[in-house]
Amino acid sequence: MRRKLLAVAGFLTGVLAGAALYRRSAARRGDRLDVYFDDGSMVSFVEGSPEAERLLPVAREMLAAARR
């Protein structure tokens, strides 16, 4: 019985840890900068690229200012 409980507890802990990791990675994927030009072309910069690192903080400040 105790062994069963331990197995269930271990399984639930694993599921929770996996969900937390998935949520974190999903949130990380959200950091992105998409730029559209008048000729129809589009460039996407993900977090970590110099372009995104330069402009994403500006966007974060804007979000904070709008919600303050």
Binding site: G30, D31, D34, F37, D38, V43, A59, A65, A66
Partner: protein, 142 residues
């Protein structure tokens, strides 16, 4: 439709948009859904900074017309049409295409109110001077 009406329609149509500001290229604010002026100014300043910064990402000619900056806290959208622009903030993971569509509609709606080109003044008929008229009368008598 004026800017205030266009913004009211926008926030009514799109529940994803938290705040939006209509502005001009020189930073002049045309309308805002935000009550605080500092917040409005911060959004416009940021939008101009994003447009300016993004325009440097490409060496060839080509103007930046749309930007979406997506973060876990939410997204910032900027749409530019000539000298006019609109900036908006949304909750995380918005429906990007829909938000861009609504912002463009709002920009067009606000622009429709403004006269695009000042109409040329109609030419007034030249008034004839009294001396010219008197001379003409004299000619008739002769």
């Amino acid at each position: 439709m004026d800017a205030a009406q266009a913004l009211a329609d926008l926030t009514e149509i799109s529940s994803q948009i938290e705040a939006a500001v209509l502005f001009r290229g020189d930073g002049a604010v045309q309308g805002s859904t935000l009550a605080r002026e500092e917040a409005t100014a911060a959004l416009v300043r940021g939008a101009l900074e994003l447009l300016e910064g993004a325009s440097r990402f490409r060496s060839e000619d080509g103007a930046v017309v749309q930007i979406e900056a997506s973060t876990p806290e939410g997204s910032v959208f900027v749409v530019r049409d000539g000298d006019r622009g609109i900036v908006a903030t949304t909750a995380p993971q918005p429906t990007v295409g829909l938000v861009f569509y609504d912002l463009k509609s709002c920009l067009r709606g606000a622009a429709a109110e403004e006269p695009s080109e000042p109409a040329p003044e109609p030419k007034k008929p030249k008034r004839r001077g009294a001396s010219a008229a008197a001379q003409e009368e004299g000619d008739d008598e002769a």
